[in-house]
């Protein structure tokens, strides 16, 4: 026990005096989590708050024109310029403005659009109840064409959304006209004059929320993703100072000296493992504190913790062990510090990219999500999502933590057998 304590004390002293290593382990991840969270949050805000400029020419000057103008103005995505009763010069200018990028889209509601819809309804009703209408329907079923023209940079998804919105507005008007026409026919048949109003309120309402297994929760903000993701990245990045520590001990001859002393290699390695595990715990604690108290200073939603703190601690210890095991494996196998730092950095970045640190898992394609499952950082992120986003119970977190613990054991076994059977 004394040998272990002496080894831990030695590791602590070396760690605390290695300023570059400390910066790599603490400052870098804090800067990353802060900058990237704010960047993502502000980018989303910009996307949501920037309105698309649209020019709408209302030559209809009736129900459809009014409904389109009202609908496009009220949905919040568009900055609408309305021109009523435009002549051909104004319409040509509107097209030029879209072509030059001043507007991303132009809409021309031609004259008589509402009238055409009314005529069409009348023709349909005439076919159904000819005795009531007694109207000449010749030419009444003519369709009407609303012109839409787009800036070439406009995305397909945006075009689909706007066409869908306009169809919804015109459909509402058509329905209202049908309702009023039939209402009048029924009034005539019943010999009454009730003038029933078309109900404007929607029959079906949509109630939207993000659901989790144990109740409802607010939408996950970028901080809910970035804090666990960059905590894992920081943890795995300790493989560089840890591997460097092992290699330096080997190359300075200190390890050979220890091999000639009555102390086991296990004690020497275990002291490193414990010391660096404590570092990973501190990294997690510091990054979570930054998520709760520092990031809100930049006008970003604070990190919300789940209620299962034991699950969070278990997950963090498992991830910390996986990271230290990875560092020990690299330090044992690598031939030089340069080799360890290059491989450590590149492999951590690849594992992070695959694991969903930079791009959240739910944004990835199904194929990439399958590949992503090979990365221990994916298991870590999944486990943390269970805690941060779903406030899951221990049993839901355990499978991910178990995978990380298994990874830790495999790394140590690889290091052990490599060392045992290494020939010189």
């Amino acid at each position: 026990m004394r040998k272990l304590l002496a080894s831990i004390q030695k590791e602590y002293r070396i760690l605390i005096r290695d300023f570059e290593g400390l910066a790599l382990m603490f400052v870098m991840p804090l800067v990353l989590v802060f900058v990237i969270t704010i960047l993502q949050e502000k980018t989303y805000q910009t996307i949501n708050e920037t309105r698309v400029p649209v020019v709408l020419i209302d030559n209809d000057m009736d129900s459809v024109g009014t409904a389109f103008t009202h609908g496009v103005k009220s949905n919040g995505f568009f900055e609408v310029t309305v021109i009523q009763n435009a002549d051909s010069a104004e319409m040509a200018k509107a097209r030029d403005d879209v072509a030059s990028g001043k507007y991303q889209m132009g809409i021309i509601v031609p004259e008589g659009t509402t009238k055409s819809i009314r005529n069409r309804v009348v023709a349909l009703v005439q076919e159904q109840v000819p005795a009531m209408m007694n109207v000449d329907t010749t030419g009444l079923k003519k369709s009407v064409q609303v012109d839409l023209f787009f800036d070439p940079i406009t995305k397909d998804s945006f075009r689909s959304i706007i066409k869908s919105n306009l169809r919804e507005f015109s459909s509402k008007i058509e329905t209202r006209i049908v309702f009023i026409t039939y209402s009048r026919i029924i009034d005539a048949m019943m010999n009454q004059s009730t003038y029933l109003q078309y109900p404007e309120e929607a029959v079906i309402e949509f109630d939207e929320s993000y659901i989790c297994e144990f109740g409802q929760q607010d939408a996950p903000s970028s901080v809910q993703h970035n804090v666990p993701a960059w905590t894992l990245f920081a943890m795995f990045f300790i493989c560089i100072p840890l591997a460097g520590n092992i290699i330096k001990e080997r190359y300075d001859g200190c390890l050979d000296r220890l091999k000639t002393m009555p102390v086991s290699y296990l004690t020497v390695t275990f002291s490193k493992l414990l010391m660096f595990l404590v570092v990973t715990m501190m990294q997690a604690a510091v990054i979570v504190m930054v998520g709760i108290w520092v990031i809100p200073l930049a006008d970003v939603q604070p990190l919300q913790l789940g209620s299962n703190i034991a699950g969070f601690v278990f997950m963090t210890v498992s991830a910390g062990l996986a990271a230290t095991g990875y560092g020990i494996m690299i330090g044992t196998i690598a031939k030089s510090y340069m080799q360890a730092s290059t491989f450590g950095a590149v492999s951590t970045v690849i594992l992070a990219a695959l694991g969903g640190v930079w791009i959240p898992l739910y944004v990835m394609s199904p194929a990439m999500r399958q590949i992503s499952q090979l990365s221990p950082m994916n298991w870590g992120i999944q486990g943390y999502y269970e805690y941060f986003l779903r406030d899951a119970a221990f049993v839901n977190i355990f499978p991910y933590a178990f995978k990380l613990l298994l990874f830790f054991v495999v790394c140590l076994l690889v290091a052990y057998f490599y060392k045992k059977y290494q020939k010189v």
């Binding site: 002496a6 030695k10 300075d252 050979d256 000296r257 000639t260 009555p262 102390v263």
Partner: protein
């Protein structure tokens, strides 16, 4: 003398995985209790390989070696408390002070804390390092580092010390401090196995010398015996060395 054998080396051979020729080729040696035994040879002769095998840092390909009757590869745990190693490398933690380094290495031998502290202070004083005991090793000169390196190998009072070029690259003053202390240590009954390129140093220090080259033993005896044996050509140990190993340059 035969009953007093401390290190027994029998037909010891070593071929490295990437080496064409054997680094050691059927080496036979007996080293006795209380000797200062010098292992001399040009670069690549097999000196460090021999010491590394005796310290169980690498395995031999063939043959056997024992210390105090214990097989080095199979029973090294019984040998560990008995030996001290002063390596060619400065095997110290550069970010720690000499005091912290020595406390750490001393703790591996379970020395009582008070005794350990007293011994560290004694050695630091003796080697002229007491005043700098709380400064980091990385700021030390080569000679200071060598002296701390020596203390780390003898702190636990070993009865056999392996010294692999302990005075390489240091000034005369530091070398004298180290050599004087090695003599003192030997007078206390400690056996020293010493390898070096410094032939004049070896001639003065060692009670017996072996010259090896290409992993083979060329000769063994006291410095006087060797000079006498090759009397016709040699006036000193350096002449004997050059006579046996040749004048061509080694890698």
């Amino acid at each position: 003398m035969e009953n007093n054998v401390l290190i027994e080396i029998n037909n010891l051979s070593k071929t490295y995985l990437k080496g064409r020729d054997p680094a050691l080729d059927k080496l036979n040696l007996d080293i006795y209790n209380g000797e200062i035994f010098g292992l001399l040879g040009p670069n690549g002769a097999g000196k460090t390989t021999t010491i590394s095998i005796l310290c169980n840092l690498i395995k031999s390909t063939e043959g056997s070696c024992s210390i105090k009757g214990f097989d080095v590869h199979k029973e090294f745990r019984f040998v560990k408390p008995f030996i001290g190693v002063v390596s060619q490398d400065i095997a110290l933690y550069q970010l720690l002070t000499p005091y912290e380094n020595l406390v750490y290495f001393g703790s591996m031998f379970d020395l009582p804390k008070k005794e350990l502290k007293e011994r560290i202070d004694y050695f630091l004083e003796k080697m002229g390092l007491y005043k700098v005991k709380n400064e980091k090793i990385k700021h030390f000169s080569g000679g200071m580092k060598r002296r701390v390196n020596l203390i780390a190998g003898i702190l636990h009072d070993p009865r056999l010390v392996f010294l692999d070029e302990p005075t390489v690259g240091i000034d005369v003053q530091s070398r004298m401090v180290i050599l004087d202390y090695l003599n003192e240590l030997n007078k206390e009954g400690v056996t020293l196995l010493y390898s070096s390129h410094m032939l004049d140093e070896a001639e003065k220090l060692c009670t017996r010398i072996a010259i090896i080259d290409y992993g083979k033993l060329l000769t063994v005896g006291t410095p006087e015996e060797l000079i006498t044996e090759y009397n016709s050509n040699c006036k000193n140990l350096e002449d004997v060395f050059l006579h046996l190993t040749g004048r061509h340059v080694r890698d």
